[in-house]
């Protein structure tokens, strides 16, 4: 299994995080097709690569790319750079599309319009400036995880395996799978400065 690639030649050519945020803003506010094309050029091959890591067919990966990017266009106004990085936001859309297509059910999500929904407490200025750094920190933390933890995180994200499926795949007790996932998540959260 490949390690998380570091910043390679491809990445240095890639748009910076503020640039990606700007493109999404341009789509939301100006319905800019040029911005969409640029964003597509960056994310479409990555979404395809991400989906194909699970052994999915090229055809399925292309379908998810299309559905994800069209949703990026329709929902661009919902993107909030203060809360999530562009690639995190687009990951969640691709994840949901994969679930919609493969399981034929809508992914259950909380609904902020629901009267029962408990809104977030107001964000502090510190949190606001931190969110754009998160992606870099998470990536660094992933690179420092022990291999057995990285493996399990990858099986969860790339392959969408359940705890039981990971246990079966790796011939591990379910409790071990859960504790490795918990440990890796704790390390990543502490890299984000969240020690709660």
């Amino acid at each position: 299994m490949k390690q998380v690639p570091g910043p390679g030649s491809f990445d240095t050519a890639a748009p910076s995080i503020p640039e990606l945020n700007r493109l999404l803003g341009d789509i939301a506010e100006n319905r800019s097709r040029a911005a969409f094309a640029e964003l597509f050029g960056h994310f479409a091959p990555r979404i395809k690569g991400f989906i194909m890591r699970s052994g999915a067919s090229e055809e399925l990966a292309e379908e998810i790319v299309q559905e994800t990017m069209v949703t990026v266009w329709t929902k661009a106004a919902q993107f909030d750079a203060a809360r999530a990085g562009a690639s995190t936001w687009i990951f969640t859309i691709a994840r949901n599309k994969r679930i919609d297509i493969l399981r034929r059910v809508s992914r259950p999500e909380p609904d902020p319009e629901d009267p029962m929904f408990q809104p977030d407490p107001p964000m502090s200025g510190e949190e606001f400036t931190q969110s754009r750094e998160d992606q870099v920190r998470v990536r660094a933390a992933l690179e420092h995880l022990p291999p057995e933890q990285v493996e399990i995180v990858r099986l969860s994200f790339f392959d969408s395996l359940t705890h039981s499926e990971i246990a079966e795949r790796l011939s591990l007790p379910l409790g071990t799978v859960k504790s490795r996932l918990r440990l890796s998540f704790r390390k990543i959260r502490s890299a984000l400065g969240d020690e709660r």
Partner: protein, 216 residues
């Protein structure tokens, strides 16, 4: 709503990754609707997905992929849900998505007894199937552990077990080795919703419960 019991971090991570079975994700999402702390944690887990996406080796898309996307955004089609919501199923007193899976009047569900003072009902279809357990005041669910990944969300009333008191919005997300015996608190029926990662086998649950009752 004062939330005291949360899904564990491995569960939130899998909810974020897309690796949680749909019924379990429905329970997590319902808890997230009332728990800003777990929403923040889930957002951190989603950032792992974002980091993996930005670092993954890109695979070139087919010729014409961009043109197809540009043609699609021209029509700007509104999103069509892949599964129509169950007509008539909406309970305004419960947070969504669970509220959208249940009728306003829970008494209208088909409840059947599974033990003294304990009734059960099944809601949802296919992958989103969950079961509801309704425990009369002061009644105990026989001591049990959980085979696979099983999660319980309190809908109304409350129960107390070896871990603590569970109130509406609280989630019991127990490790497989944990054995517990929930006892419904004395004031009112405790209704909770249970999801597992295994296909729901009522013939497995009922005898297990009956078996434990016979032992008592």
């Amino acid at each position: 709503m004062m939330i005291r019991h949360h899904p564990n971090e491995a569960t939130l991570l899998s909810h974020a990754s897309g690796g949680l079975p749909t019924a379990l994700s429905a329970i997590v999402a319902t808890h997230l609707a009332v728990c800003p702390t777990c929403r923040a944690r889930t957002a951190e887990a989603e950032a792992i997905g974002g980091a993996l996406l930005s670092a993954v080796e890109p695979v070139e898309v087919g010729a014409g992929a961009l043109d197809r996307a540009l043609a699609a955004i021209d029509t700007d089609m509104p999103e069509v849900p892949s599964e129509a919501a169950d007509a008539g199923m909406h309970n305004p007193d419960l947070p969504r998505p669970l509220g959208a899976m249940l009728p306003a009047d829970l008494d209208s569900l088909r409840w059947w007894p599974v033990g003294p003072g304990i009734r059960q009902a099944r809601v949802g279809t296919g992958e989103t199937t969950v079961r509801l357990l309704r425990i009369a005041p002061g009644r105990a669910v026989p001591q049990h552990s959980h085979g696979g990944h099983e999660m319980t969300l309190i809908v109304s009333g409350s129960y107390t077990d070896e871990i603590g008191r569970f109130m509406p919005g609280d989630v019991a997300d127990l490790d497989p080795e944990v054995t517990h015996q929930p006892v419904s608190d004395a004031d009112t029926d405790c209704i909770c919703v249970i999801a597992t990662d295994a296909p729901l086998e009522f013939t497995g649950w009922v005898p297990r419960l009956m078996q434990s009752l016979v032992r008592i």
